[in-house]
């Protein structure tokens, strides 16, 4: 007992030794694994360029919204955090948790399509750290050549291709909707992409802002088009049950069995690292490639749906709008060409700075093709579910996708989402 007390005492003394005081920037991100390594390299480059500033990184994955909310309420948030939740950014900005960056950070080098998304009520709150392109369909190049399949350029061609694959005794799609506590989100990408192509970007914005209800014919049509594929047992590997129980990260594997268990996968740029983790021998561009999710109504062309992360600066009571100069220096560095090239090269993900050198930065043709799509899209829209209030975008929308695919009538699903939306938006 006495020994234990002594050990305790020693530990108290040890733990009490405080932090040394130096110019320090605290950053919290949610990228584990490879992304964490890439971000560490960016941070290292920053500390080499600014030796008098120390950067302390916290990585919080799954529970980050909870931890950030708690720390904000308690008054000790980190200085900077790159977040994908733009809806949340707006809420935080209005609650006074975030530092307005107008006049502090230069965003002129950002991809023009992304920049407006960093604004809330006319003020700049978020600078872009990374982007991804969601409107992509992945396929097995060799299997396509072998069977004589062509890359479809319209929705009708896509359906015709599906029917041909079925006629050949194959299964067109591999769909993975399971994602642990976030299950359902891959389906929201489908519906958003379809909506952009059937109703156009303006209606899409109205939908995201809840200016049209979830029961609007435009929304219903997007869901039904998604159902045309996802609910068709012949189109989806394992049918709807397969879609619901397959983890999105495992959905790529069936494309590369011999013979392929499925031929098509709709997923964002980041899925490449999943495919290569499970099939390390594949060569991007040779063994697998992507084509844009095809247009439906020619009027709206081929819009691009994307996602990404914006760096927001939390109000920690500093002299510069609530923050400190070293924090601004760090945020400015994150969006610079140098930082962005390190980040994108390391990951094959999309940079957010338009001035990077794509040939030197992107290791493979797929990433270069996605980069082209991002720069030249007929229209660009951000992932709607991340723009909506959490109760809808990370709640009833995800749940609705799963309910719909598991056989709940569409009207029931949409009525339910609408009721939560009225509640969450307040109108």
């Amino acid at each position: 007992m006495r020994k234990a007390m002594l050990v305790l005492l020693c530990l108290v003394v040890f733990a009490g030794v405080g932090f040394s005081q130096q110019k320090t920037v605290y950053v919290m991100h949610g990228w584990p694994g490879q992304q964490a390594v890439a971000f560490a390299k960016v941070v290292q480059a920053f500390m080499e360029a600014y030796p008098d500033i120390n950067v302390v990184t916290e990585i919080v994955g799954r529970d980050r919204p909870a931890i950030l909310a708690t720390r904000l309420a308690a008054g000790n948030p980190p200085d900077v955090s790159p977040i994908p939740w733009l809806g949340l950014m707006a809420e935080w900005a209005r609650a006074g948790y975030l530092v307005p960056l107008d006049g502090l950070v230069d965003v002129s080098e950002q991809i023009p399509a992304l920049t407006p998304l960093g604004y809330v009520d006319g003020k700049l709150y978020g600078t872009w750290q990374s982007a991804n392109v969601k409107s992509l369909v992945w396929y097995n190049v060799k299997a396509f050549v072998e069977k004589g399949y062509q890359v479809p350029t319209t929705w009708d061609e896509l359906i015709a291709l599906c029917d041909r694959i079925v006629a050949d005794g194959g299964v067109p799609w591999s769909i993975g909707l399971e994602s642990g506590a976030a299950s359902g989100w891959p389906g929201t990408d489908w519906i958003e992409d379809i909506m952009l192509r059937t109703a156009g970007p303006e209606v899409y914005d109205q939908w995201v802002n809840h200016e049209i209800p979830w029961t609007d014919p435009a929304v219903v049509e997007a869901w039904e088009k998604f159902g045309q594929i996802a609910l068709n047992p012949a189109y989806v590997l394992g049918g709807p049950v397969g879609a619901l129980t397959t983890n999105f990260g495992d959905a790529g594997a069936p494309l590369f069995t011999d013979p392929p268990q499925a031929y098509l996968l709709k997923q964002a740029t980041f899925i490449q690292s999943f495919i290569l983790n499970q099939k390390p021998d594949l060569v991007p561009g040779e063994d697998f490639a992507v084509f844009p999710f095809p247009p439906i109504d020619p009027k709206f062309g081929t819009p691009v749906l994307g996602g990404g992360d914006v760096s927001v600066v939390f109000n920690t009571g500093g002299p510069l709008n609530g923050t400190r100069e070293e924090v601004i220096t760090f945020v400015q560095f994150l969006s610079s060409v140098k930082a962005q090239e390190i980040w994108a090269r390391e990951l094959g993900e999309m940079a957010a700075n338009k001035n990077i050198d794509p040939v030197a930065t992107y290791p493979d043709p797929i990433a270069r093709a996605a980069w082209q799509m991002l720069l030249t899209a007929d229209s660009f829209r951000y992932d709607g579910s991340d723009l909506m209030p959490g109760a809808v975008g990370a709640g009833s929308f995800w749940q609705g996708v799963l309910d719909y695919v598991s056989g709940v009538p569409l009207k029931t699903v949409l009525d339910y989402i609408e009721s939560t939306a009225v509640d969450a938006y307040g109108y």
Binding site: A15, P32, G33, A73, G180, A253, N277
Partner: protein, 284 residues
């Protein structure tokens, strides 16, 4: 054991072995999966490896090496020890002192307080963060080890007190009488009589409290944060997974590595789960 006695005991053995088998299968699946490649894991069942269990090439240590080579894992392990060992000790000490008073002493409000303590078990700890944390900041406890020891002590206290109380309330009264005759005060009685008798209960409470703290991530994230200098191993392991998904092959290996220490503690403490400590002290 002679066959006449063995025969009626057959159902007993069968029952126990079946239960153990059911309990073991998922664990075995995890263990085997932790040695397989990501591609194999999603394409065939883990049990398909069993017929060729001893063939070379079936299994690889890659997953374990990747987990072990992760930067900062050693620091995270040390942090976990710094968090869980003192926190467990403190909570067991505080809980056994309190339950000693609840079980063996009379004082006004005893019953009400006891019921209240037990009822507090159901308060979801997530709801306590936001009220507690601002005060923590003022007291400069946020981000320190003493701060998280206190937090873990608190979160485990209702259950540990409840368990210790229920055990101590069963201690026969004549033991105290003899102690009083010897002139021992409450502290002396506690160390001389109550604690030694309570060893099996202490051991079980200790092991579970240790486990919960060792496996905790949320409390650590809230009270010490995720900076590598102080974050425990659960936080480090969570960072192994990829951005949006789970690297199952790494997580399975990590699950086993993080389990080793709690299991060692269990095996070490198992010798205290023995009969007779109390039985020997009581004249039936």
């Amino acid at each position: 054991m002679n066959p006449v006695r063995l025969l009626p005991r057959m159902p007993l053995h069968v029952f126990l072995v079946v239960i153990a088998f059911l309990w073991f299968i998922p664990t075995l699946g995890l263990l085997i999966t932790s040695f397989r490649t990501p591609g194999d894991i999603v394409s065939s069942g883990w049990w398909t490896t069993i017929p060729g269990l001893f063939q070379p090439g079936q299994f690889a240590l890659d997953n374990y090496l990747r987990v072990l080579n992760q930067e900062g894992l050693g620091v995270a392990f040390r942090n976990s020890l710094f968090i869980s060992v003192p926190a467990t000790l403190i909570s067991v000490i505080v809980a056994s002192l309190a339950s000693y008073a609840f079980a063996c002493m009379g004082f006004p409000g005893r019953r009400l307080l006891l019921v209240l303590v037990v009822a507090l078990m159901v308060v979801p700890l997530q709801m306590t963060f936001i009220p507690v944390l601002p005060i923590y900041r003022k007291l400069r406890l946020a981000g320190t080890y003493p701060g998280i020891w206190l937090a873990h002590t608190a979160y485990g206290l209702p259950l540990t007190t409840f368990l210790m109380y229920s055990f101590m309330s069963g201690i026969p009264k004549d033991l105290f009488d003899s102690a009083s005759i010897d002139g021992a005060g409450p502290l002396k009685t506690f160390f001389r009589i109550v604690l030694p008798i309570s060893v099996p209960a202490l051991a079980s409470v200790f092991i579970f409290q240790f486990l919960w703290i060792w496996n905790d991530m949320l409390v650590a994230l809230v009270y010490v944060g995720a900076t590598p200098r102080v974050a425990p191993i659960t936080v480090a392991v969570a960072n192994l997974v990829t951005n949006r998904g789970q690297n199952w092959e790494l997580l399975t290996a990590a699950a086993f590595l993080t389990m080793i220490l709690p299991l060692v503690v269990f095996f070490l403490l198992q010798r205290y789960f023995v009969r007779g400590i109390l039985a020997g002290a009581v004249k039936g």
